[in-house]
């Protein structure tokens, strides 16, 4: 069974201070538009993630406004300047008020 709201952050395996790294965020969510019908012709209500916040430590570094126009099981990737270590977290909220969170540790390679 899919676990709605499960958020996974993928970082490169080896990160060195100052690298520009690719951060990929994958979430599980139906992202229903509210325009489709099920097998019994009943409307499937809109259900989608509308707000995503990316933080490094306590600092908010990005915020995404989403609509149901983002595909089911959303994926977003962007570039981050790895100037400091810390917990990279992604918190999101859907239109039903549910909140989800995922995190990854940004750590510099020791060797």
């Amino acid at each position: 069974m899919p676990e709605t709201g499960k958020t996974k952050i993928v970082l490169p395996e080896r990160i060195q201070r100052g690298d520009v790294i690719r951060v990929q965020v994958v979430m599980q969510h139906p992202m229903d538009t509210g325009f489709f019908r099920d097998a019994n012709a009943a409307i499937i209500p809109a259900w989608f993630i509308s707000d995503v916040r990316v933080r490094l430590g306590d600092t908010e570094i990005a915020r995404f406004e989403w609509t149901s126009g983002i595909s089911k099981d959303p994926m977003v990737a962007f570039q981050l300047r790895a100037d400091q270590e810390g917990i990279l977290s992604v918190e999101s909220r859907d239109n039903r008020g549910s909140q989800f969170r995922g995190q990854a540790e940004l750590k510099f390679a020791t060797t």
Partner: protein
């Protein structure tokens, strides 16, 4: 417009550098190619697509307050024929600077003929690297797509693509 000027100057200097290098190594033919590649700050293409409907007009009014949107500095990469309107890959790139005093504040993705045309807005900060945003969106039908980047100084740069879709991904 100081920002524009400096960017154009940089592009020009880069062009000169490439020309110089090319002349030294490959002669005049190479120089012409180098020049053509380096000075292309804005991509050649059809004229900017007109605003198609009131909803898109409202988005432009609310988000851009009638400021001019110029083509350039942003590259929208999508398949021109999207087979499945439920999953259309999008890559938005920009060569605009991402520094503490000058950065890309927001990136807007507008699908003209979707029920909710402003599919997403990404609000960024200088902590991020150069703009390369990748995601997947839904499309209801064949439509112009607009990727618009807003700089911290309030300039608006865009790229447009017409993407054809057969399978309705929005319902």
């Amino acid at each position: 417009m100081a920002v524009n000027d400096s960017i154009e100057r940089r592009a020009f200097l880069q062009a000169c550098g490439i020309v110089g290098l090319a002349v030294a190594t490959e002669g005049l033919a190479g120089a012409r190619q180098g020049l053509a590649a380096a000075v292309r700050v804005t991509r050649p293409g059809p004229d900017d697509p007109p605003i198609p409907n009131e909803i898109v007009q409202r988005i432009f009014t609310e988000r851009f307050q009638g400021r001019t949107v110029q083509r350039g500095h942003v590259t929208l990469d999508m398949p021109t024929m999207a087979e499945d309107g439920r999953y259309v890959p999008v890559i938005i790139e920009s060569d605009l600077p991402m520094g503490a005093d000058q950065y890309v504040k927001s990136v807007f993705l507008i699908v003209d003929h979707n029920p909710d045309p402003l599919v997403t807005a990404f609000h960024l900060s200088p902590a991020l690297g150069p703009v390369t945003i990748q995601t997947r969106i839904k499309m209801k039908r064949t439509s112009w797509i607009r990727a618009i980047a807003e700089t911290s100084g309030g300039e608006l740069w865009a790229d447009y693509l017409k993407v054809e879709t057969t399978l309705n991904g929005c319902g």
